[in-house]
Amino acid sequence: MSLVADNKSAVTQTLLDQLQSKSSKVAFMPDAEIISAIRYLEDKGIPNNKHEDYKYCNIEAVLRKEFKSVEQAFNELTNSDIAPLKIDEAINLVVVNGVYSEELSEKMIVKGLTVKSLNELSSTEKALLCSQAKSDTDALIALNTTFSANGLFLQIDKNNIIPMPLHVIYVNSGSANIVTNTRSFINVQANAQATLIESFYNIGSAKVFSNFVGEKFVGENAKLTCHTFQNEGALSYSVNTNQVKINKYSNYSNTTMTLSGELVRNNHNVVLADSNCEAHLNGLFISSGTQQIDNHTLIDHQMPHCESNELYKGIAKDKSAGTFNGKIFVRKDAQKTNAYQSSKNILMSDDATINTKPQLEIYADDVKCSHGTSTGKIDTEALFYLKARGIGEESARKLLLQAFAQELIDKIEIPSLQERVLHLFEKAL
């Protein structure tokens, strides 16, 4: 199969050629999805700033500038590489350059828990792949589907509660420029509950373009509590797409903590597919240098009596930039919807930029929806008050920024993860 992208996008063509020459065929993805993905890529190419959703996040430019040649020089990792990334109170599972590593993952037999790589899926499990993340909706999903590495499948069988957090460590590592297409599927069946931590790292010496797609399905009356921890460093350019579908009486929450990364683009899309379910999306980032952190969320209320809450905060230092784009759909049938969204940001320098854009599209008439956004400098009155008590300028600033972030840090219910976030956050201030 030859991949021919639109002539308009030489970047897309180069990338496809390079990846194709270095990848083996993806056997576990449905053929129809791969065909549809390739068509989509041919048609649309990799998004640049002319695409509405990528206006502030020009992925094409990043690939043109930083990934002219993709070496795919992957590093092998050992237990000693992974040990510092683990979280003590969790079951630690490891995905290296997109490939689930049974060898580096902790082996524990937990009732109702299935952990396997994508090429080991049964035919029913295989049918789930691409059920949430459709190739014909987004070029990065299409790219991931076409070149997906042998990622991770996690399932919590119905009626099971996993007693400890599951920690998936997604780590990239290359010795020369690499592009990774990491894929995972988390299936929480009816009446099941789990807490999930997904951590993203780059421990190589080379630049990484990381294109992650996570599909998550939360069954009836099930609960999935997620924490996304991103600390990929200055050599990383990553797009993380989470495509989530939640069902009747279910509860889904995610808190994304972004502590570093040259470019981090998070697409967190949640479909509330049936009545009486709730979704909570939270995020905190701190950026410095020339970093760019983008959080895009899409909450799709399809049925009545559901609730969604979003709280995103950002602190932009130096010449860094942040974006929050939150779209809420309330469909015709989604009466009695409660949807709230809030985005608050602090600019720490005159050269830092924040773009926020709430978008509410409401087609039902009996709903409560609100959104609020604020971007400003640090509160000078509060700063003066602290200084008037003998607290130095720098500590006063830190106290206020910590206070700003605290309500999000408090949402991390896993002590050692909270400690890790707090430590890195304080260091980044």
């Binding site: 003066f384 008050y385 602290l386 008037a388 008590r389 003998g390 106290l399 206020l400 206070a403």
Partner: protein, 252 residues
Amino acid sequence: MISIKNLHASIGDKEILRGINLEVKAGEIHAIMGPNGSGKSTLSSVLAGREDYDVTEGEVTFNGKNLLDLSTEDRAREGLFLAFQYPIEIPGVSNINFLRTALNEIRAYHGQEEMAAKDFLALVKEKSKLVELDAKLASRSVNEGFSGGEKKRNEIFQMAMLNPKLAILDETDSGLDIDALRIVATGVNKLKSKDNATIVITHYQRLLDYIVPDFVHILYKGRIVKSGGKELALEMEAKGYDEIKKEFEIAD
């Protein structure tokens, strides 16, 4: 303690202080009274180091140091304390953490070691009693959701914790009912010693029934136009500021 000579200060093009002279010695309580807009709060803001004001003339010596050369935080570390007229709410910063940070930065400035957690908590317990501040308020966010009276008591609690040499109480009586006023005043009186001094800025004589001043100064249009003993405050209360206004009308 503090010596203010010919202090002029303005905000933008507007001159608010037009030559203040004031000398406060250790052990003394001075009251500064005056009508609205006379410059009372500007004086306290300038002394505390608020950056909105420009000092255009004059000097202020605080314990032998040129106060105007010091940053806001260093003024506090040298022992200057301003009880705010409108204490700021700081959600997310606990009172305790705030005070521990303040106390330890002041100690570090004087080359002292950090206070042990146990000693700090004992101090919190002791000093919160002084202003009858509920121990729960100490662990809450700074002034967040506090009533007007609680905010003012919290100011005096902070003063007790930081043990300043010179405390400036800026309209501490505003918005207080009589019980809260008594509690705040009792706290201030208990903190008084021969080594520290207090400047009470107030609109009304009422507070001075509880905190009895050694000297009373009347501020009008940016100058101290009259000074006297505590009886001057009673005189002002009885006659109002109209006489002063007539006598010292300054052409703008």
